[in-house]
């Protein structure tokens, strides 16, 4: 059975259709494997080769990959949630309750979205600490550390903007308190708060602005910087595997 499937897949990979999509060929040589990565728009961000040591659990604890995994879960659960959620004052709370009690699988998607959001913040912090304590931020990887800091801030803002969307008491007062903390910034604070909320208080404009930030602007920023972050791993000589091991 397994042999038959393998033969079928191999046959499939020789077809003209398959070859028109994946042009690197089907050989099992290093060249073919390298081409398969290099000629794929998604995979070409990564190195075509990596050190065996970099794949060990102890090197990274896979925290970066796990952060990406939670981000992908958040995107794929967030988009379906958008189909039932209206970012308006009279409807937002009721829509959230509908997702919990009326929509089929709504409670699953909402809870998965919420738990993944918590997990992502946790994992991103863990990833940062791991990189810091192993010294993986040092030259030539300093710039990728900076990109990582940007991604941490984007993650926290995604978390913060998402917090308002249920439009319950917890959300309302959390954003009231948070936006008042922002207004403590010298000189610009009041103006920043006004622009973020689109008014003087947490109201309809604030809900809409947070929705747009949460669903469009911040995810796009995250995807952009994640792309740069991964590409820089390759450009900076692969994952940091420890002192003296980077050039083995």
């Amino acid at each position: 059975m397994a042999k038959a499937i393998e033969a079928y897949v191999n046959e499939l990979r020789e077809t003209r259709l398959w070859r028109s999509v994946f042009r690197s060929g089907t050989g099992a040589t290093n060249l073919h494997r390298a081409l398969a990565v290099q000629q794929n728009i998604f995979l070409h961000l990564f190195s075509v080769k990596m050190r065996r040591a970099a794949l060990q659990f102890s090197v990274t604890w896979y925290l970066g990959t796990l952060s990406l995994a939670t981000f992908l879960i958040l995107v794929s659960t967030g988009i379906p949630l958008m189909l039932y959620y209206h970012p308006s004052v009279p409807q937002a709370y009721a829509d959230m309750k509908d997702l919990q009690f009326v929509v089929s699988a709504g409670v699953f998607l909402r809870n998965l979205h919420r738990w993944s959001a918590h997990a992502m913040v946790l994992l991103v912090f863990a990833h940062m600490f791991k990189v810091f304590y192993r010294g993986a931020y040092r030259a030539p990887r300093e710039f990728n550390w900076v990109i990582g800091v940007v991604l941490l801030i984007v993650t926290l803002f995604l978390s913060y903007t998402g917090y308002l969307l249920p439009w319950d008491q917890l959300a309302y007062w959390a954003i009231t308190v948070g936006s008042n903390i922002m207004s403590a910034v010298p000189l610009l604070g009041q103006k920043m708060r006004f622009l973020m909320l689109g008014g003087n208080s947490v109201n309809a404009n604030a809900l809409l602005r947070f929705y747009v930030l949460h669903c469009v602007i911040l995810p796009l920023a995250a995807i952009l910087f994640i792309g740069v972050h991964f590409w820089r791993i390759r450009k900076d000589g692969g994952l940091y595997t420890g002192e003296g091991k980077t050039h083995e």
Binding site: W173, T176, V177, S179, N180, I181, F194, L195, G198, G199, N200, S201, N203, A204, N205
Partner: protein, 158 residues
């Protein structure tokens, strides 16, 4: 016909066009930045009016503290007259509550405490609760303006 004089410039035609192009891009960029930031700042706000009609003063018996959670104000009928306090905590903007058994105003968020005249008893609030402008309308209604603060201890006597 006099001999054509070469204009005294020290840049080529190409450089001139590059400068012109970059210059107009810069002007357009600044314009987009200014109008973009103007766009982000709403010109009309559909927020509730800061002026509240609190009804007839007789509604508030002597010695009463009445919280209006909708507008975030206290209307107090003290021994020296009426006054209105903002119920919004000066720390981070939470809505405070009147605790009659302790004779004080308390914030549920971070534990700030205020006296019935708005004075700060306990932090983290940095300032006392502000006094708001109160007056009687022509119809004899008690009016409060949440956007205008007045110095403390200015009572309205009816």
């Amino acid at each position: 016909m006099p001999e054509e004089k070469k204009p005294d410039i020290n840049c080529t035609r190409r450089e001139t066009f590059v400068k012109l192009g970059l210059g107009s891009l810069a002007v357009a960029g600044v314009g987009a930045l200014v109008s973009g930031s103007e766009f982000l700042s709403p010109n009309v706000l559909y927020e509730p009016s800061p002026i509240t009609n609190a009804g007839k003063p007789e509604r508030y018996p002597q010695g009463s503290v009445t919280a209006d959670t909708k507008t975030g104000i206290y209307i107090v009928h003290g021994p020296e007259g009426f006054y209105a306090l903002s119920a919004v905590c000066t720390h981070l903007g939470c809505l405070t509550t009147w605790a009659p058994e302790q004779n004080r105003i308390a914030c549920p968020c971070h534990g700030s405490k205020f006296s019935v005249e708005g004075g700060k008893i306990e932090g983290p609030a940095p300032r006392p609760l502000p006094w708001l402008r109160v007056w009687l309308s022509d119809e004899g209604d008690l009016m409060v303006d949440r956007s205008t603060t007045i110095p403390a201890r200015q009572f309205l006597r009816t």
